[in-house]
Each structure stands twice: as C-alpha cells, then as structure tokens.
C-alpha cells in the first residue's frame, strides 16, 4: 500500500508542557486510520498540528502527485486545504450565523472549478439528504447531528486527498453516531482516505483499517482495527472490559 500522509516524531508544547511527546504514524491511500484514546491524550492536538493550527516540531509530510513529498511545516495554515487536507474540527466548528449552503460553499472556498463544486454539493446531499431540506437555514439552528453532517460535508466540499475528522460522535445520540459512521465508511469506499480521531473506540475500530492508541502524548499501541477490537489492553481500557 502506498503512503499518503506521514507523521514523524511530532512534538507539540502548550506553554511549558509537552502535550505530544513524539508521535509517529502514517496513513495509506484509501484507508480509514483512527487515533483513539482518552480525553486529553493528544489526539486533537495531533490533528491541529497537521492542519497548522498549532506550532510543532517533527515532520509532517503529505504526498503531492505520484512521488513528491511536501513538508507541511512550510505551508501557511490557510493554504493547507489547497494541498489536499480538509479538517472537520472538534466541536464541529460550523459557522452558526451562516446558512447551511454558505457553510458548504466555504468548504469549497479554495477551489475554482465551479461545475465540479456543484457536483460535489449534490453528492453531499445524497449522503445527507437532511441537509438539502435545511439548505437555507442558519446552521446554528440545526440539531447537533445535523451540524455534524454540515461539518463533514463542508470538509468533503474541499475535495481533499485526506479527510481529517475530529470526534464526529461528540455529544450525539447513538443512533445518529451509527448513521454518521455509516457515511464515513461509504465516503471511504468511494475512495476517500480518512484520518479519524475518536473517543468512541468501539465505533472507530469497527470501521478502521488500522488504528493507533494515543496515551498522554505517545502512541502506545497500533494495529488493524479488527485486531485491536479484540486486544485485551484495548478492551480493558477503552471498551469497558468484560
């Protein structure tokens, strides 16, 4: 399998505290890769570093074209999306005073291929028919689940090489979570590479090709999703034991 995103010895400091103590992993083309772990382990920080929202040391590289690797530390934070990463942030980060349409439109802000954008918009509505009904509504008036749909769709509208999803299950009812994860699987089956950060380890592992377990700023375990689901260390710590 061919790598598309590599993270090497990633360190991030908040004040004097080392929040990430050297994290390394890679994402292959077409995979769903999960970072699971407890609250405060450093999962979100990892995504924020990849998107250039926090300063870091170490190396984050993204494949451009067939063989050319781009060092993301050289890219301004508002240009990351133009290099092929779209980030749906923790807490959804939708623009509440803007309509659903405007939110999705901004997802494609960096693009100029109008006909393709219109096609991708239609595709988002196929994935989330509910959004089409709400297209003119202010995003802040939507339910939590619908807002998460807006956040994911908005990231898809950037037509990224890798989709970064931070905690899409946060604060949602189990039924909605199941729906959202179905969609993530579907998007992936259509060829999208996904890097997923989740506290809901069971849901994440079920759909992931591979996963990494992050604990206090380090990766302690990694493996295939289905294997980790059965791993006693994971089961005891994150899946509620037996």
């Amino acid at each position: 399998m061919s790598k598309i995103l590599t993270v090497d010895d990633l360190q991030v400091k908040y004040g004097g505290i080392l929040a990430l103590k050297g994290i390394s992993f890679e994402v292959n083309k077409g995979e769903i890769v999960s970072l699971i772990g407890a609250n405060g382990a450093g999962k979100t920080t990892t995504l924020r570093a990849i998107s250039g929202l926090v300063p870091f040391t170490g190396r984050i590289q993204l494949l451009q074209g067939e063989t050319e690797w781009l060092d993301l530390s050289t890219v301004a934070k508002h240009d990351i999306v133009r290099k092929g990463l779209a980030h749906s942030p923790e807490g959804r980060g939708i623009f509440p005073n803007l309509t659903v349409y405007e939110n999705l439109f901004l997802g494609a802000f960096a693009r100029n291929d109008k006909p393709e954008i219109a096609k991708d918009l239609e595709h988002c509505f196929e994935l989330f028919p509910r959004l089409k009904e709400r297209i003119k509504q202010k995003a802040g008036t939507l339910s939590g689940g619908e807002q998460q749909m807006v956040a994911i769709s908005r990231a898809l509208m950037a037509k990224p090489k890798v989709l970064l999803l931070d905690e899409p299950s946060l604060g949602l009812a189990p039924l909605i979570v199941a729906q959202i994860f179905e969609i993530i699987k579907k998007v992936n089956s259509e060829g999208m590479t996904v890097l997923l950060v989740e506290q809901n380890a069971r849901m994440a592992l079920k759909i992931s090709h591979r996963a990494y377990c992050v604990e206090t700023g380090k990766i302690t375990l990694s493996g295939k999703g289905i294997d980790l689901l059965k791993d006693s260390r994971i089961v005891d710590s994150y899946l509620g034991g037996h």
Binding site: H78, G93, I94, F95
Partner: protein
C-alpha cells in the same frame, strides 16, 4: 394634530433620517471591525476626519466649488474613499497587526493612541482653524409637499447613503469575499481551515469600513461645511453610540442605530432645545448599556450541543 404641526414633524423626520444615515455609514465601520477583531477601533473617527480633509484639498485643487454638481460630488467621494482606505490599511498594518496575539486591552489602548496621534497630527498638518468645505451640491428646495420642503442636500445624502449601504449588503451577503468575512467574524480559526487568509480578510474589512467613513465625511462636509481636525471626536463617538445601540457587530444594527440616533437628535433639537443634542447620544448609550447591553439587534450567542 393640526396640519402645521404634522408638517413640522415630517420636516424633522426628513432631517433626522438624513443625519441618521450619515451616522449609520460611520457606525458600520465600527461594527465591521468589531465583528472581525472584537476591537473598538477608536481611530475610525479620525479616518473619517482625514477623509473630509482629503476631499477638501482635492476640491480646492480642482476648484470644484465653482463647478457644483454630481460629478464634483463623485470626485470628492472618490478621493475621500481612496485616502481613507489607505489610512485604514496603514493603521491596521502598523498599529493593530503586530498586536494580534496581545491581550485585547493592549489593542484598545493602542487604538485610542492612534486616534489622538491623528487628531493632533491633523492640527499640525491641516491647521487648527476650521476650513470651508466646497459646496458641490447647492442646497435648495427641490419640491414641497404642503409646507414640507424636500431639499436637494437631504435627498443627496439619502440617495448616496442608501446606495452605499445596499452595495455593502450585497457585498457581505452575496459575494465570496463577503461570505468569507462573515466566516472570519464567526470563527477565525476554522476560517483558516477553509483556506481563508484571515489577515487578508481583515485588510479588506478595514478598506470597506474606512471607505464608508470616507463617503460619510463628504456628506457631513456638505451638511456642516466647517471642517477641522477635531471634527471626528464628537461625531465619531456618536456613530459609535449608534453602533452599540443597534448591537455592535451587527450590520443591520448599525444602520438602524444610526437612523434612530439621527431621528432622536433631530426631534430633541426641534421640540426641546439644541442644548440637549449631545447629551442625548450619551444618555442613549447609558440606557442601552443598562437595559440591553447586546443592543437592539445584537444577539447573545449561545452554543448548541
């Protein structure tokens, strides 16, 4: 009410709306910058003052007072807008951008500093004595309804400010840049993730806000032709009150606040005494801060889970 009284009232109404629409133009500048940076840009009133002087000097150089008309008006507005935009960009670059990550209070104090710097530099450069603004629109009654006169100046002010505000509404709601501005105002961090260059949007915001002040400065110059380097102080603070009244950060709020303030002032002058004119604005400020701190159209933002 007998006819004389009601016609007097309508006359005050027209005057009040015309004054209010100028307040609204300036208030929009305060509110836009606040919406993006959560900063009260106290230097905004001086941008407006410099705009009036820019128009004054251009008008003088071209001898526009001898060729009144719409073209002369447009030339004055254009020169004020260009100078105000450049000044707005310069202030943002030199004074505010270096403090982007500093506590909000530091930037606020800097804004007051820039305001004072411009006021007193203005006195040195332009001289402290008032100048007579070129009268490019001759104020004459255009037509009357009963005894209510509609004067050319009031009509000009209304038309210009309405066009400008309509243009702003279109820009903010129906263009890519406008949508990006609203996104930055809502959440600058996430706006970055969309590929929006936040610094660039901030620059655009200063350009647009300062341009509105430029337009307003010419309209004020026509209405109150004596301009001096301290003219921004009182008028600017009143426009700021209008922005707070409408709900700082809200564009329709700034327009509404401006018109309400203009109407109130005109009514106070018309029916009570012009002595209370300035006290009124600050009375309104105190009341709104006590009763409805978010302003008439401002919203208290809530997060939904």
């Amino acid at each position: 009410m007998d006819q004389g009284h009601s016609q007097e009232f309508i006359q005050h109404l027209i005057n009040g709306i015309s004054l209010g629409s100028i307040y609204a133009l300036i208030a929009l500048g305060y509110t836009m910058v606040y919406g993006i940076l959560q900063l009260i840009n106290f230097a905004h009133s001086e941008v407006y003052m410099v705009g009036a002087f820019a128009a004054f000097y251009v008008g003088k150089a071209l001898g526009l007072a001898d060729h009144p008309g719409v073209l002369a008006l447009l030339v004055l507005i254009f020169s004020a807008v260009v100078v105000c935009s450049l000044l707005g960009i310069t202030i943002e670059r030199l004074a505010y951008r270096p403090l982007r990550k500093a506590p909000k209070l530091n930037i606020l104090i800097t804004a007051i500093g820039v305001s004072l710097l411009l006021q007193y530099s203005g006195q040195i450069i332009f001289g402290a004595d008032p100048k007579l603004f070129p009268e490019v629109i001759k104020d004459s009654p255009l037509f009357s309804i009963g005894t209510v006169e509609v004067r050319s100046l009031d009509l000009t002010i209304l038309i210009v400010s309405t066009l400008v505000m309509a243009g702003l509404h279109f820009l903010v709601h129906y263009t890519k840049i406008g949508t990006a501005m609203r996104a930055v105002s809502s959440n600058a961090n996430v706006a970055n993730l969309m590929g929006i260059n936040v610094d660039r949007i901030i620059t655009y915001t200063f350009v647009i806000g300062s341009s509105l002040a430029g337009v307003a400065s010419v309209l004020v110059g026509l209405k109150y032709p004596k301009i001096d380097p301290l003219m921004g102080m009182l008028f600017g603070i009143k426009a700021f009150v209008a922005a707070v009244l409408g709900g700082i950060g809200s564009l329709p709020g700034a327009m509404l606040g401006g018109v309400i303030l203009g109407l109130c002032e005109e009514m106070v002058v018309g029916y009570l005494s012009s002595t209370y004119r300035d006290a009124l604005a600050f009375g309104i400020l105190i009341l709104i801060l006590l009763l409805r701190p978010a302003g008439l159209l401002g919203t208290v933002t809530r997060e939904k889970v």
